[in-house]
Symmetry: C2
Subunit: 509 residues, 2 copies
């Protein structure tokens, strides 16, 4: 985290005014990385899948959350210390003190448990007050004076459900119909203390997949049926069996380990996406939520969990089977018929929904931690994910080399690369700076560039260098970044003595 | 707008519950288009300029807006009808009724004007009540119980200013230092009535350019000095001169029409960006704000205005000279010294700021309207901006053509294209559907594809067709989209009789 802060990946927000817990800023490198993670998600879950993506407001009128059940159910149990006034999220406190999971339990029961176990304020030892439900949506007023009550959405999903009829038509009245949304979500956490992991404002990427409940198949299941999944099944369903099992997506459906093919399809896709952004396979598992953990709308939910060094296993995505809960509730509340006519099946049906929902900030944290572990003190991303793709150096700060390097930089930026320029300090220090943030390639402009129009490319992983004619540079770099070209085939490799000579010259800075 | 709604570009939000004015949803094609506009902005103002981009929260503690002056100044004059209770934004009402601009005037003065001009409720004719200031930030509470007051940000800029010290270091302590942010902004409009033009939640793209007030030059000014600008100067500054003048950015600086080079640089860049997303040059001008119109922090502001058919001239960007207002205010409020040491100049200085600030939703509207005007009932975007880049058709729905077309679709999606598949109806209807939303290229898989591995590409503009071998398709399409290849050079052009034959076959659908 020191490196992440120092090099501008992220830091706690509003530090100038003492900070505000539950909020983080993404700095320049962090914004680049976060955008790349979002684009990867879009590639996996929207572009390749042919999903519809929409973009609806974060501020939402109260009616929507009354219908969705969030007004009633989006609550945490809290209590304040009678002595110091500190508020606590009680389920967290009980878990820390006793290991018990009280999520979803009634307030009176949990209050009795507090007394029984003698749990008091961890800050000052004072007696905790009454346990009550706190709705964790941020509330505001839309319009002046006695305007309408509105809330910041806790999930992007409702913006999709309220548009279902229109989306059904735009999706040409076919199922399954996947609709995506990427954007901010908000949760007024009682006392967020885990940095990036428990934020009050966060970026979500969600897919609502509408399907025929009598046919929960996915037309492309064959492509993922062989994908191996590590499943940690919910305790309540077990009868002496192992909790952790590993099987293919196909087997998971056959053996009934997951509820149906659509669920298994999205577990497999989730795995592929997480691996593609650089989460190591051995740190990934799917954990089934217990009935107490599940949200009010869900019949079966699998959390994708990543094992981190700092926080242990953390949930980065939830794949929830929401049944027809949402469409039925909105149908009741609005008086609109939200069932559809399935032409081929010749029947009307209220669609069911599977929802893969991703916490981009948590994935960001995991990607950053994984890059740090991979890089041994430095950062090592999957090449495509590297915030800066290429760094351009003039060997020396004279002889027209900075000007020529400036031209190379313009060339690369013009072709869509995220490129940086660095002329400060010796060439060795510049390589080290680029290496530290995982920049996979450095291009150096030297005296030969002026005479024969070639530049050197240095590969971060091996410190090998090749010489490439300038006009070919964009194409070569783009093939290298996509692993479509091996480095040694990119151009003639420089010998050690040539590299030595360059570095010696460059040491003058 | 009928076309935009029908084909899923955008629609008013929450219609299922009667709607909520000031909020719009972007549908699937709208989201694609909006994302492309944002990426173009990022290309022009971040990647090519080497700006730092950050991403800070929308929910902001009260201290920040007390320091920035928004608590005091981010207000509109409002009044409610004494009879029907309808709230009105008074400056709008007065402008509509009298043509007068009362923005920035004291409430008592405006109330007197209402009485004098006999302005009453335009809905019911009732007498309007007292005129008072209404703060148009959305307010909420962060944390449980007596938590902290927070507001949804009305601009992304403050998230940059509060991080200035860190950004100065990350930008290597050099000026000018451009820092960007793209994200949601919010304004609790009193009674938004202009659709997309006056939203309560919107997407902004802002750049805060920190510079040395004693040296307001831009190192790359030479690149834009010849860019012609149409300037509409503020009335107050005029002494018998023409209001509307046209001159180059260089001349604008020399003649003092704009305050300094940095301002002129960003006016020119703004023009280039707007043209690049498809705004016609003749519909663009820069209008200087009068002192009354200017925000509390600004010394000189130029609005980029686009002439629309529906709303007349509308502001799509503001380029404001914010002076040292923000850094000085935050310095006072936080007690931190936000001045910097300029190494070369050997002096300390509080940086000044020029802020180009863009309303992405308004630009979206203008791009859509321009595409509609260009397309004569259909949409015609700049090719790169087209939401769908290529549509893939099987000529017939049999003989293995749909399966082969499915493979072509996968190939294109895998290479990063936004591609769609359509097999419904005759080939002519499918071309028409793709044409309507501006899809520049259609690829058809026919019987020859199965025998010799070629497909046809049809160009929307001319309805000409060429045949291209499948392996070359991605490269050819990508060159065509970027205008790096002329259509007639993409492959052998199909003769009219060949096209006729294909279409005849395809009519069977």
């Amino acid at each position: 985290m020191e490196l992440a802060k120092r090099r501008g990946f992220l830091w706690p927000s509003f530090e100038l005014y003492g900070g505000s817990s539950g909020f983080y800023d993404f700095g320049p490198l962090g914004t680049l990385l976060k955008n790349k993670i979002v684009e990867k998600w879009r590639e996996h879950f929207v572009r390749r899948e042919g999903s519809l993506e929409i973009d609806s407001p974060t501020l939402t009128p109260e009616e929507v959350f009354r219908a969705s059940g969030h007004l009633e159910h989006f609550v945490d149990l809290m209590s304040e210390c009678g002595k110091c006034g500190q508020p606590f999220k009680i389920s967290e406190l009980v878990r820390e003190k006793t290991g018990l999971d009280v999520e979803g339990r009634p307030a009176e029961e949990v209050e009795a448990l507090l007394r029984e176990k003698g749990i008091s304020c961890p800050e000052c030892g004072g007696r905790l007050g009454r346990v009550f439900e706190f709705n964790t949506m941020f509330r505001t007023t839309i319009g002046p004076g006695g305007g309408k009550v509105g809330y910041l959405r806790p999930e992007t999903a409702q913006g999709i459900f309220v548009n279902f009829r229109r989306l059904w038509r735009l999706g040409r009245e076919r199922l399954p119909l996947p609709v995506a949304q990427i954007g901010k979500g908000y949760r007024n956490e009682i006392s967020p203390r885990q940095g990036m992991i428990r934020l009050r404002e966060f970026t979500m990427a969600e897919l609502e997949v509408f399907f025929d409940p009598r046919n929960p198949a996915h037309p492309s299941f064959g492509k993922v049926a062989g994908e191996r999944l590590r499943l940690w099944r919910a305790g309540e369903e077990m009868r002496g069996e192992e909790r952790m099992v590993e099987m293919t997506a196909g087997e998971a459906v056959e053996r009934g380990a997951v509820c149906h093919q659509l669920m298994a399809y999205y577990l497999a896709l989730t795995k592929r996406f997480l691996l593609d952004v650089g989460i190591p396979e051995e740190r990934l598992r799917f954990r089934e939520q217990t009935p107490g953990q599940r949200a009010h709308y869900s019949r079966e939910t699998w959390d994708a969990e990543v094992r981190t060094e700092r926080f242990g296993w953390i949930e980065v995505a939830g794949i929830a089977y929401r049944t027809d809960y949402d469409l039925s509730r909105h149908s009741q509340a609005s008086g609109e018929d939200l069932s559809v006519l399935l032409q081929q099946e010749r029947r009307k049906e209220v669609c069911h929904v599977v929802e893969p929902s991703f916490g981009i900030d948590r994935i960001f944290y995991c990607v950053l931690e994984a890059a740090h572990l991979q890089g041994g003190g430095k950062l090592r991303f999957r090449k495509e994910l590297s915030p800066v793709e290429v760094c351009v150096f003039p060997l020396l700060r004279r002889d027209g080399l900075p000007e020529k390097a400036g031209e190379v930089l313009e060339l690369l930026k013009g072709r869509g690369f995220w490129a940086e320029y660095d002329e400060a300090g010796s060439i060795g220090r510049r390589y080290a700076r680029a290496d530290e943030v995982g920049t996979p390639y450095c291009v150096t402009v030297d005296h030969r560039t002026l005479s024969d129009g070639t530049v050197t490319i240095r590969e971060r992983e091996t410190a090998r260098q090749v010489r490439v004619p300038l006009p070919e540079l964009p194409r070569v770099l783009s093939s290298l970044l996509r692993d479509e070209l091996r480095f040694e085939e990119a151009g003639p490799l420089l010998q050690e003595e040539e590299k030595g000579k360059e570095e010696e010259e460059g040491e003058e800075g």
